[in-house]
Amino acid sequence: MNVSLILIILLVGAFATFLAGDKLASKVALFFGLAAAGAAIVLLNHYNLGENISFINQWITQPNISFALKADGLSMAMLLLTTVLTPIIIFSSFGNDYKNSKSFYALILFMSFAMAGTFLASDGLLYYIFWELSLIPIYFIALIWGNGDAEERKKAVVKFFIYTLAGSLFMLVAFVYMYQKAGSLLLEDLYKLNLSATEQLWIFLAFFLAYAIKIPLIPFHTWQASVYQKAPTVGTMLLSGIMLKMGLYSVIRWQLPLAPLAAKEYMYIFIGLGIVGVIYGSIVALKQKDLKKLLAYSSLAHVGLIAAGTYTLTLDGLRGAVLQMIAHGFVVVGLFYTVEIIFRRYETRAIAEMGGIRTQSPKFTSMFLILVLASVALPTTFNFIGEFTVLYSLSQINIWFAILGGTTIILGAYYMLKMFQHAMLGETNTKPFADVTVNEGITLVLIIGVLFFFGMYPKPITDLITPSLEEILTQINRIN
């Protein structure tokens, strides 16, 4: 039993969903999503028992490429994030009717497959293939099932597609260069390379471009808000919940260990970039009129902080970043879901057209508020653990980083509560707002449950990821 099982389940699921026809598609997709999540948990169990669940096989002999899926704690954590969020995302779409839903759900599963592959791949080319593969489904999801004016949507989505693709090409160049040197793209072979400082810098920058666009870091973020706004909510959830984490994960897995000298040399610049993103994203979020755009900029702020944490190159920074990635994945999916719930009733995402929902729907408001508070990292939620650890790591580097990064807890509270106040509180809107349905309730409660459980007891995840992060740190520190 090894991790390829999950990829197989998701891929087979994608085809099965497509073949199941429009009526059954959503249920089949949910079934396979749950199966993948179940398989991931079983595999986690095997992994914790010390079994080897990696899968390595020669794929192409010339050039020397392996089909290598390596599962360590970090990969398992990200895999769990993907496989658990996928069924939740699929389930969250049950209230909507999509035309040609078989393709829609098949694409979701396919995207999940590609993202899971990205988290598992430990061969450069395989990783690159999965990385690019994940772009294709989201392109179609956003383009075909998105909302708003078709022309503008197309413009936004094509911009996103070309932008991310262009960034990744530099990564490919870096891989090709390293293949020339190492004769293999297996991660452990690449670790053995002794690259000079200049080479490392170029490789670091090539990776950086790919990741900075994907994460996104300021100033490479311009695709984000418009795509989030135009994509269907499911697509936005996939993008913000999982796909952003691909970039951050890759920083930890690929960029830092392969070019540690450059990372150390220019650490301050990249931490600074992350923190500028935190402040900038928070400030821009203040004056957004569209709920989804606001959340997009809040995402920018959060991932900025995570990125700053990864570039500290400390155990705390990496660990906090991973914890925060998972926490942010859940909370942002929940928040986008609440936007969708409002949209189902009010047919709008403009904050100005909402208001007074709390009187009509107290349950929904409570859950929304909990998600808002989790997003601003209130203690006892999972986000606090991540944010605290990241900020702590920043304070180890320089206390000013912690203070400037910490403005997120002030500004975050400002824009989130302002949004909450205008969207949910105030005089009752004339439009009726039905309270959450059972399906919607289940989804939100699940997410909130996860956030609170790990907020109080993050030890399982910490224990899972720490050994592999330590290993990565030794790789980072192998040259001094």
């Binding site: 605290f388 702590y392 180890q396 807890i409 106040q421």
Partner: protein, 630 residues
């Protein structure tokens, strides 16, 4: 040991359970039942606290309970644990005690509100977080409570959520608190980096055992922690949220914004006294900030017409006095004042709530007056509390305030002068409040007059209890023979030697303070009873009183230098920078387009040209392959 853990868990979780019950079943339980459950759950905590209190003398080192590992940091682990020692038990006693009384009061006060179960849920949640704050064994557990009480404060200030102004006030409170929270976090980070622990006990031994302390970072940490305390305890410059927080229901103001939550900053500094003792610079900053806050808030309180606003500024002013005491190193005095203040200020707030209740929501003192006859119990209890806060001898406030002034006099005469002026003003505005509310003729509408009534016993009983406590509360720390000081010795070891005895100077000072208080009362009497003045309308105010009435325009100032620029920046970023960056990205596309547009002109369709270029290319390749080798 097992027993202690269980009881501690009961202590913490009882209010949480009350919260859960009220949240999920509150509506079906009915109003009275949800109120009773809310009250009982706090009462259970109070009883549990009583258990620990009775056992503490046998165990002076306190009880430590570690539940589980919470957060792992590279150089230390933070466990989720409790520490029940003298300080936390003392705090728990009045938090749960006053909490129970206020819950009881709220059953009646909030009875007409349709969301009463939610009110009790939030109150219970608040008590839960407050207990967590106090009982935690390390700074991060404290931080849970610290943020949690901020959240409950937010929820309760904005309890009437249909009014966006209330929501604004709630948001403001939360955000200003969060500014302080950042300070607290920064302090936590520095301590974590310096000592690799956040646990109070370990921290204490680490600091005591350290040979060469980095004084600079220690001071920075202390200062950052102090900023955190400023946010929570409404000190300059972060005090403006507290008066606005009066938007919440009155029991909330009594519980959160007078008696308990705002004292969290004092608790934290007292808890970390071993740290602050090492940083005299920060201590003097604390003392100065406290004294200035006391004076500033008192001056604003002089002219406010909203009964709750007066009390709010009074709270800020009293908190300033406590910080003054903290800054002077007299932690036990600050703690003493916290306790007496909790009694009389809760009583005052609840009394004002009773008045507001009787007048159906009227809060402007200009529309009150003459309530003495209609509401005798409210009047009597509030009078006692006012006497206490004004420092009239034998009431609790006299002892605590006098000690603060005494300490200030011994250490720093200017601060003593400032504090004395502040307390004279306190006496003035408190009796201004009393005279305007209860004396002379009723100035409200006939409709209101018709409905005037004494509040039901559920409201008056807590008032009476608190009034009694406000009277006799001073007994716990009589000058010369202080039970409190002895009780706190394990926490504040320096005290053992600092017990000052009463001499001539002390008696003179006492007399000055008493005379000052009486002068304040006298001026109020002269102005509002003899001359029968009623404060002017808002528009008619002039000169300095207008500045005071508008709170020195601090809100406007903050608005102009923080809120407006941030909003401007936000619009600027949204409209200009975002568009610019976006245009930059599209620019790449446009350049590519332009190049290809120009490039396609080369493809002019002339086969001759193609062939010519082809031949040239062929020649070039062939000559490179065969000729360029040598």
């Amino acid at each position: 040991m097992e027993m202690n853990t269980n009881i501690a868990l009961v202590l913490v979780l009882a209010p949480f359970l009350g919260f859960l019950i009220n949240v999920f079943f509150g509506k079906s339980l009915g109003k009275s039942l949800s109120g009773i459950i809310g009250t009982l759950s706090v009462l259970v905590s109070f009883i549990a606290t009583g258990y620990f209190f009775s056992g503490i003398s046998a165990q002076p080192e306190g009880i430590r309970i570690s539940l589980f590992d919470w957060i792992q940091i590279s150089n230390f682990n933070v466990d989720f644990g409790f520490q029940l020692d003298q300080l936390s038990i003392l705090w728990l006693l009045f938090v749960t005690g006053i909490g129970s009384l206020i819950h009881l009061y709220s059953i009646s006060y909030m009875h007409d509100d349709e969301n009463m179960h939610k009110f009790f849920a939030y109150l219970n949640l608040f008590i839960f977080f407050m207990i967590t704050l106090v009982i935690g064994s390390n700074l991060l557990v404290l931080f849970i409570g610290w943020e949690g009480v901020g959240l409950c404060s937010y929820l309760l200030i904005g309890f009437w959520h249909k009014n966006q102004e209330y929501n604004d006030a709630a948001k403001k409170a939360f955000i200003m608190n969060r500014i302080g929270d950042l300070g607290l976090l920064v302090g936590i980070f520095i301590l974590g980096n310096l000592f690799s622990t956040l646990d109070y006990a370990t921290l204490k031994t680490a600091i005591a055992g350290a040979t060469n302390l980095d004084m600079y970072w220690l001071s920075v940490a202390a200062f950052a922690l102090f900023i955190g305390a400023c946010g929570k305890s409404a000190q300059i410059p972060l005090y403006t949220w507290l008066p606005d927080a009066m938007a919440g229901p009155t029991p909330v103001s009594a519980l959160i914004h007078a008696a308990t939550m705002v004292t969290a900053g004092i608790f934290m500094i007292t808890r970390l006294n071993f740290l602050f003792d090492l940083t005299p610079d920060v201590q003097s900053i604390i003392a100065i900030v406290g004294a200035v806050t006391a004076l500033l808030a008192a001056t604003i309180g002089l002219v406010q017409n909203d009964i709750k606003k007066v009390l709010a500024y009074s709270t800020v002013s009293q908190l300033g006095l406590m910080f003054l005491a903290l800054g002077l190193g007299a932690y036990e005095v600050a703690v003493f004042h916290v306790i007496t203040h909790a009694f009389f200020k809760a009583c005052l707030f609840l009394g004002s709530g009773s008045v507001i209740h009787a007048l159906h929501g009227e809060q402007d003192m200009r529309n009150m007056g003459g309530l003495k006859k209609a509401m005798p119990i409210t009047f009597a209890t509030m009078l006692i509390a006012s006497l206490a806060i004004s420092g009239v001898p034998l009431f609790s406030g006299f002892f605590s305030k006098d000690e603060i002034l005494l300490v200030a006099f011994h250490q720093n005469i200017p601060l003593w002068v400032v504090a004395s002026i502040a307390s004279i003003m306190t006496a003035f505005y408190m009796f201004r409040l009393m005279f305007l509310t209860f004396f002379q003729e009723f100035r409200g509408t006939a409709e209101q007059k018709h409905h005037l009534h004494e509040s039901p016993s559920l409201i008056t009983i807590p008032l009476i209890v608190l009034a009694i406590l406000a009277t006799i509360g001073g007994m716990i720390s009589l000058p010369g023979n202080s039970w409190l000081n002895h009780y706190l010795i394990p926490i504040l070891p320096k005290l053992a030697t600092a017990e000052h005895h009463l001499g001539t100077t002390e008696f003179i000072l006492m007399a000055i303070a008493v005379v000052g208080g009486l002068v304040g009362i006298g001026i109020a009497y002269a102005k509002y009873i003899k001359q029968n003045n009623v404060p002017t309308e808002d528009a008619a105010m002039t000169g300095f009183s207008k500045v005071l009435y508008n709170k020195y325009y601090v809100d406007e100032f903050y608005d102009a230098i923080f809120v407006k620029p941030i909003n401007f920046l936000s619009r600027f970023f949204r409209d200009t920078v975002e568009t610019g960056l976006s245009a930059l990205v599209f620019g790449f596309g446009k350049v590519t387009n332009e190049i290809s547009y120009q490039g396609k002109k080369i493809q002019n369709g002339s086969i001759g040209l193609y062939l010519f270029v082809f031949v040239l290319g062929l020649c070039a390749i062939v000559s490179y392959l065969f000729l360029a080798q040598q």
